[in-house]
């Protein structure tokens, strides 16, 4: 006897609705809201400096006279774009390398797996910091993401490799073969549902990894400091001694938004995963 997890039931669950609305809210605030304001929120001294949150400046202002209510969405947007680009690039590389390694002959496989091992072992963050620092004058927001993607595909590629190699051994692949499916169709029909799940985990995992790297590198100052991101905002706050001066909002507001974004993304992923895979689960028997 199986329990069928219905779509409606899943969508109406509070544990799905709440993170979904937070997620959408943050996206609106960070992507649509900045389009509606005329001034560049990164500019200095368009607001009085170092004001605590009030009804006029909802999230307070920085020592350089920036309104955090206007600054944070821009920073959030840039950070999200960086992490998303990094995730897309790393997933593309990881999936091609992992699946080619799993499906090809021994020499290609050994070469690709060794390459993957090397990428896994290379210390990502120090490398990124050096790269970012040397080319800080040439960096753009998408480029930061691309560079992170080029370095962060090691562990996902390893996972994809092992998933595909074990899927290959399953009997139902033979059934599909004898149902007249060509190899690429077997990959689409039989592998895809399993891989889809991992794709989701992969994208979310790489995004949080990239966010972490962006913030850490920025705190060290190894980043294009003129770009407004969550990391650079924190960096400047610390650079101008926000803690000593007691300007807690300068640090707390960006951090709170970032945490809300990461957590809502993570919970959404967990819930969608539960729904997709409840179908295949037999509750008892």
């Amino acid at each position: 006897m199986a329990y069928v997890y219905r779509f409606k039931e899943f969508v109406l669950k509070p544990s799905f609705l709440l993170p979904l609305s937070i997620f959408i809210g943050i996206l609106i605030y960070s992507f649509i809201f900045p389009q509606t304001i005329a001034i560049n929120p990164g500019r200095w001294y368009y607001a009085p400096p170092a004001l605590p949150p009030s009804s006029k400046y909802l999230f307070g202002t920085t020592s350089m006279g920036q309104d955090l209510f206007l600054l944070v969405p821009l920073a959030l947007r840039n950070t999200i774009v960086i992490s998303f680009v990094a995730a897309v690039i790393s997933v593309l590389i990881a999936w091609s390398v992992g699946s080619i390694a799993a499906l090809s002959s021994s020499i290609v496989r050994v070469v690709l797996l060794t390459l993957t091992d090397v990428i896994c072992v290379l210390p990502g963050l120090p490398l990124l910091m050096v790269i970012f620092y040397i080319w800080r004058d040439f960096l753009t927001i998408p480029l930061i993401g691309i560079i992170m993607g080029l370095i962060g595909w090691g562990f996902p590629a390893r996972a994809i490799y092992s998933i595909i190699s074990s899927l290959r051994q399953r009997t139902f692949i033979y059934t599909s073969y004898f149902s007249g499916l060509a190899i690429y169709k077997i990959i689409v029909k039989d592998f895809a549902p399993y891989l889809l799940r991992y794709l989701m985990i992969n994208v979310v995992g790489t995004m949080t990894w990239a966010i972490g790297n962006e913030v850490t590198a920025s705190i060290f100052g190894a980043m294009k400091m003129e770009e407004v991101t969550i990391g650079t905002t924190i960096h400047w706050a610390m650079y101008y001694q926000a803690i000593l001066l007691g300007l807690w909002w300068w640090l707390a507001i960006p951090v709170v938004f970032l945490v809300m974004f990461v957590l809502s993304l993570y919970v959404l992923m967990v819930e969608i995963d539960k729904y997709l895979f409840a179908r295949a689960r037999v509750t008892w028997g």
Partner: protein, 333 residues
């Protein structure tokens, strides 16, 4: 006549499961079962998978771990020193210390996968001594071990091996050796030979048979395969959807199966050198959450009558040691 050493009265239980984390249902796997096990006999429990055989074995052994739940019934055991204990009144600590492995041991289902992968075979044996606080000289233990292993045709090198280094059949024999370690008076074997091929099955069954004939212990053998019962049993009990539907001497049951289910089980067997078309049993055992009313077998029974659909049949005693739970043999109301 041999003495009864294990008496089960009106055992009733099953699994409490949550479906989708919400609805709570009760899977009624064992429904009002009474049985006795005698001194020095092999009692077989037959039936398809999903009929509650393994659950019954767990209940008798006392392996009551949630979600398994015993709702009523009692089990009496005549111990080695002549006392009678009611097993389900004892605390789990007492059962663990005094009953398990000393009076009664257990060969679990898929026994080739029950050994600790990180321990050498000899340490797994030594651990059992430790569990029961037995002080033994190390050399003596080793000698004893080698004896037991060689009686199951296992080479002595086995004791230093890790489980993954042995073949499936060898691991199964190691588990049997473990269960016979203290020469218990009762062994409960739950499908000891499923998942092995016929040759290995034959080997394992002959080894168990040989051991039992020497030790005069009692064996309760659970298997869905009737030819295993024909080879091993003294008495056989047939179980269907949580009920014992027929009990009897193995020769009588195979010669003249009474319950339509028993008949179907035996008729579906293929004999060596027989090409005549056999009939299998259509359908499958019922859902134990909502079993059919009346006799649970009636939807699959070729002799089903009106009364079978309404009322549960009584257990009818037919001669010595022979019980059948079927309206065909009851005085119809």
């Amino acid at each position: 006549m041999a003495r009864d050493i294990l008496i089960m009265n009106n055992l009733d239980g099953g699994y409490e499961v949550f479906i989708g984390g919400k609805r709570r249902v009760f899977v009624h796997a064992v429904d009002n079962v009474s049985l006795t096990l005698r001194d020095s006999e092999v009692l077989g429990i037959a039936g398809e998978s999903g009929c509650g055989k393994s659950t019954l074995a767990k209940m008798i052994y006392g392996a009551i771990v949630p979600p398994l739940l015993v709702r009523s019934g009692s089990i009496f055991l005549y111990t080695r020193d002549g006392n009678v204990v009611e097993l389900n009144r004892l605390s789990i600590e007492e059962v663990r210390k005094k009953i398990w492995w000393l009076e009664m041991s257990y060969i679990p289902q898929n026994s080739m996968n029950v050994l600790n992968p990180l321990k050498r075979i000899k340490d797994q044996f030594i651990n059992v001594f430790k569990y029961h606080n037995m002080e033994m000289d190390k050399n003596e233990v080793m000698r004893h071990l080698k004896d037991i292993l060689s009686s199951l045709s296992l080479p002595p090198e086995v004791i230093n091996a890790y489980p993954h280094q042995l073949s499936g059949g060898m691991r199964q024999r190691v588990v049997i050796a473990l269960s016979l370690l203290f020469n218990p008076r009762i062994v409960i074997a739950d499908e000891p030979t499923t998942a092995v091929d016929v040759v290995t099955q034959r080997i394992i069954l002959s080894l168990i048979r040989e051991w039992r004939e020497n030790s005069k212990s009692s064996l309760m053998l659970i298997s869905h395969d009737m030819s295993v019962h024909a080879y091993m049993d003294d008495r056989v009990a047939v179980m269907y959807a949580g009920n014992i539907v027929e009990v009897g001497n193995v020769f009588d049951v195979f010669k003249e199966p009474l319950h339509p289910y028993t008949r179907a089980l035996i008729e579906s067997l293929i004999r060596k050198g027989d090409k005549t078309i056999r009939k299998g049993l259509a359908g499958q055992p019922p859902d134990l959450v909502n079993p059919p009313p009346g006799c649970r077998f009636h939807p699959r029974c070729p002799f089903a009558m009106d009364i079978c659909r309404r009322e549960e049949p009584p257990a009818v005693s037919l001669g010595k040691d022979r019980y059948v739970k079927c309206w065909l043999y009851a005085s119809k109301r």
